[in-house]
Each structure stands twice: as structure tokens, then as C-alpha cells.
Symmetry: C2
């Protein structure tokens, strides 16, 4: 299955197909220098299979974890390209989860003011979400993705077969992002997820989730309007993630962050789904710590938050609310 993303600044294909990691050389222009960015959590066999299809691969294996998404690592990647004589005609490819894509994508955006970038997401979370939309970036002083660029990939390859080696906890956090898409935009998909229909058909699940995101991103590449819908669960979620300091995965934080933004009816259906997948529905972090991180988030402003609510499945909406209103939602979100 193939999706073509059409943006003002660029267009690119996303191919979703079991086994297509072995087709990368046919699908992408790899007959040049390719900086292959991956991390220690990605099976070496995937990296080898991909690198074997590159003309001149330079493989960089990063330590694992969100803590590595730093300006220092961007400098390391740029320095490596410089040492290896990368020109404007060469490219960067990420193979791994969102951390690899965010970091490698930002390095591609900056090196020589921008070279080609390919993304080969291997986790469910990155396959349904960060592989599309062109957001790249790194963290600074514990604030997520505060430094970065919008830089669209030249092509994305999603191979659902890579999910066979994905630990259960990483699979579940991907489901959290998938249910986010469903709740804001696709009631039918939400009901299918409740019936457990797509859990053994990841290809279809990924394609459906990406189709939702494609429609939103194409309307609003730089997140000035409709794209804010995709921020559902992320306002509180990012606060939880910062306050947890690495103790919780991104999708787990989104799971916690979605619940307080739902009507009570949707909330109980969502909670049941999250629990089935082993996702958290609350946490014991101090609310004040979560709040401090929330007001420093790049989507916050002096006047408040563009908050995303879901009263009915498939019908998310954005509403500007004050700091006081947001704080009340957070305080009522879960017992501390």
C-alpha cells in the first residue's frame, strides 16, 4: 500500500508493505553516500539489510533513549558527515524509532542547510505517527523537541514485519497513538480497535492511522490550524513525559494525557482499551511538576492552551482555554 503526501513545499511517498525493507534500494535513491542513523535497540539484521542496499553507507549506532536526542548528538552526526565528505547531494536515513527519526531528520535539515532524508520507522509508534509530517528536533534541558525544524523526508518505508521483534511495551505505546487518531477523526476505526480487529493486521492499522494524519498534515504543514487536532493527549502527555524524566514512554504519557480531555462516556471506553493493552491510565507524579513542564511546552502561550477535546469518538475539536481551566482539567485528571 502506498500513500503520497502532498505538501506546499514537497511531496513524498510512504510505502507500507510487509518485507519492503528489502526493497529500499528500489524505492529510494541510495546510490550515494548514506548516513544510516540507528540505535542500540534496533535489531542489527535490519540495519545490515538496509545498509547492504546503499552505495556508500556510513552507519552510526546511537545509544538508546530520549536522553540522546540532544544538540550534541546533532553535532556528532554533522561532524561525521563532514569527515566522510558528504556533499549536498548525499543523504541521511533513519532506521529505528522516533528518536532516530527526529535526530537524524534534524541533522539532515541542518547539514549544509538541508540534504535529503529518508525515514524507515521500525516501531509501531513511529510507523503510525512520527514517520509522517516532517517534524524533527531534539530536547533541551528536559523540554521535548524544543529545538528542531520542519523537514519533510524524501521517502518513507514502513515494513510491518519489523514489528515482529518489537517488545510488547513498545507495541502498546504505538497503539496509544493509533487510538488517538481514531478518537479525534475516525469513529469506525475506534470501534474496530475496541473489537480488537486490527491487532493482527498491523499493515491495515498503520495505513488507516497514516491516512488520518496525511489528511490533517496536508491541510496544515506547519501546525498553525487543523494540525493541532493531532495534539490530542499531548498537552498533559508532554507534561507527564517531562516530569517522569524518562520513566514513562511517550505513548504511555499520551495515554494518560488523553483521558482527562474526553467526555466521561468516552473516557471509560478509552480506559478499558488502554488497560487491555497494558497502558497506564494514571500516574503518581506530583501535579505541580507536570504543570511546570506543561507551561514551558512550546505549544503553551501566555494566554493559555489550544486544548483538544473529544466528546464523541471521531469528533475531536480544538478549543482555546485559559491556564486556570487547563490546570483544573489536570487536577481533576486522576487522583494523586
Amino acid at each position: 500500500m502506498k500513500l503520497e503526501i502532498h505538501l506546499g513545499s514537497a511531496s513524498y511517498p510512504i510505502t507500507v508493505e510487509r518485507g519492503n525493507l528489502s526493497q529500499a534500494g528500489n524505492l529510494l535513491n541510495l546510490n550515494r553516500k548514506v548516513l544510516v542513523v540507528t540505535d542500540q535497540g534496533v535489531p542489527g539484521s535490519y540495519v545490515k539489510r538496509f545498509a547492504a542496499q546503499c552505495g556508500q553507507p556510513v552507519v552510526q549506532v546511537l545509544p538508546q533513549g530520549e536522553g540522546e536526542k540532544t544538540m550534541e548528538q546533532v553535532t556528532v552526526l554533522c561532524r561525521l558527515m563532514l569527515e566522510q565528505g558528504f556533499s549536498r547531494r548525499d543523504c541521511v536515513a533513519a532506521i529505528g524509532g522516533g528518536m532516530c527519526g527526529d535526530l537524524a531528520g534534524f541533522a539532515a535539515a541542518c547539514y549544509m542547510r538541508g540534504i535529503d532524508f529518508y525515514n524507515l520507522p521500525t516501531t509501531l509508534l513511529s510507523q503510525v505517527d512520527s514517520s509522517i509530517g516532517g517534524k524533527t528536533g531534539v530536547n533541551l534541558d528536559g523540554v521535548k523537541n524544543i529545538v528542531g525544524a520542519f523537514w519533510q523526508p524524501k521517502g518513507v518505508i514502513v515494513d510491518p514485519d519489523t514489528l515482529s521483534t518489537l517488545p510488547r511495551r513498545l507495541w502498546a505505546e504505538g497503539m496509544a497513538e493509533a487510538v488517538k487518531m481514531a478518537l479525534t477523526s475516525d469513529a469506525g476505526l475506534f470501534e474496530q480497535l475496541e473489537r480488537g480487529e486490527l491487532e493482527d493486521r498491523p499493515e491495515e492499522l498503520i495505513f488507516r492511522a497514516l491516512s488520518i494524519k496525511k489528511a490533517v498534515v496536508e491541510q496544515d504543514e506547519r501546525e498553525s490550524g487543523p494540525r493541532r487536532l493531532l495534539n490530542f493527549g499531548h498537552t498533559i502527555g508532554h507534561g507527564v513525559e517531562s516530569a517522569a524524566g524518562g520513566g514513562l514512554f511517550h505513548g504511555e504519557c499520551v495515554a494518560i494525557g488523553m483521558l482527562p480531555m474526553c467526555s466521561s462516556q468516552v473516557r471509560s471506553r478509552l480506559a478499558a482499551l488502554l488497560e487491555k493493552w497494558g497502558l497506564p491510565t494514571r500516574c503518581n507524579l506530583p501535579k505541580d511538576a507536570v504543570w511546570q513542564a506543561m507551561i514551558h511546552d512550546k505549544k503553551a502561550s501566555a494566554s493559555g492552551f489550544a486544548a483538544v477535546f473529544v466528546d464523541q469518538p471521531g469528533a475531536g475539536y480544538v478549543k482555546q482555554i485559559s491556564h486556570g481551566e487547563m490546570r483544573a482539567i489536570l487536577d481533576g485528571g486522576w487522583p494523586n
Copy 2:
């Protein structure tokens, strides 16, 4: 005098007017948080005058010199904005030479994936050249501008009165870039410069030079074609600059780099002009050191260089040449 730059991705005004630094509050949207980036070489009175027109100014004075154009300084600027609670609706303004603009512009491009940037160049070099075109960036391991972004300012204010405090050597390096524009694109301007007509009319000189650059940049925002013409003198010039390790100013290196690319007739006229302004027409750096820097430049490629030649004033052209041809030009450029 006002120029409006029209690009696919953005449009912005450049105002060239004596004393307009005092009009910044009327010309730009400064009623918000403004990170004012300047350096120790810029008269404090300019910075104060500008900051007084900002709603919430945060002034950062950088150490002087190209050596400060680093990823570490970008991180410092982003961290400062984070600490001061800058949101996506706030902005960055550079007041100073090209170093301030390149660094501050890149920080603006990256912070929260891009916020508004204003440029207030106070040197002749930055007024005729780097204030327009949207190139931002920093150096890495001695290679100039190797990491950066294309990020267009929202507005540019050029106040020629700031040139009254400019040291003679900095004035001369600005003239080198102005004569570059004239030689590639405007024979009339070159002749006026030879007759010394515009030296006491900086406003007109700046406007003429910017008009040339505007026409080129509007055709080719990302330097894939016609914009390469503006690279005249920069292929060898960048090599000289890297090899000199800070001993020569950018415009001085461009002066040296232009001469070997001219026909013998143009060369002698250009040399006379450069000498009149006290600019160097040769240097005693080892050719091998210059060459090593040239082949690592981001405009070089495995197949050679897009070199810019001027056989007649006003009629520059780009020609793809091999490494061997370029090396021969360098070797014949000046006696070592």
C-alpha cells in the same frame, strides 16, 4: 528606500534609510518578547536605542568573531529563550554584523521549529549582502556555515548611519562584496565604483547592491541555479578564509578569491580598485592548505566546482569545472 523581497515561501521588506534604527518599533512588530542578539564590537548605543523600542527585550551580547559562530552558541541562545519563557509568537532580532545575523537567524530557525526573525545589519558587508537571502548558519571544525538553515527574516532594517562608526577595514570588506555584485551583474555600478562616485552615498550603494541580490535570490531561493552567480570570488575565498584561521576578514578573502576568476583585463581594473580601498590582492598562505579547505566546502562535489567567471564587467557566468581545472586556477592565482 524600500525593497520588497518576494519568495515562494515568504515575503519581507528591507528598509534602507538613514536614521531608521530609531523607527524600528514602527517598522517591525516588537511588542512582544525579543531576543536581541549583538556582539561586543557593536556600539552599545545602537543596541540600547533598539531595545528601548521592544516590548520585552532580552539582550545577549556575544563575544566578537567568526569563532563564536558555533552550535554551542546556538544552544546558548535557545536555552536563554527557554529560560525566559519565549513562545512561538515571540521573536529574535540581530543587530550587528554577519556573525550576529547568521547565528541569531539560525537560532530563530530552530527554536520551537522556527520563530520570527528580524535583521538589523550594522556593517557594510552585512548590509549589502547577508541581510538578504535567508542564509543562516554556524561553523563546524573550521568549515564555514556547514550547519544551518534557509530562514527568511520577517523584516530587515538597514540604517546607513551606523556606518559612521565602522572601522575602515570593515568598510573595505563590505566594498569587496559590493564590487562582487557589480562585476557579476551591473557594469554601470562597477564603473561608478571605479570613479569613486558612491563612497559618500552609502544609501545608494547599498540599495543598488541589494537590488542585484534581490533579483537573483527571488529567482532561486535555495541556490540550485542562478543564485550560484553570487558565489563569485567565494570558492577560492572560502578556502583562503578557512586556511587563514581568522587572520583575514571574509570580504578580504573574497577580494583575493575574485581576481583569479577574471579575464586579465578585468583583473587589472579590479586589482586597482581593491588596492585603492586597502584590500589584499594576494596572500602568503600555502596553496595546499587553501585547496584542502576548498574541496571540503559545501559547494564542492566529487565531480568538481560550479565556478563563477567574469570576462567582462557585469557579465558573470557559472561554469562547471573539474578539480584539476580549479586547482590550476588557484595555482595561477597569485605567486606564493
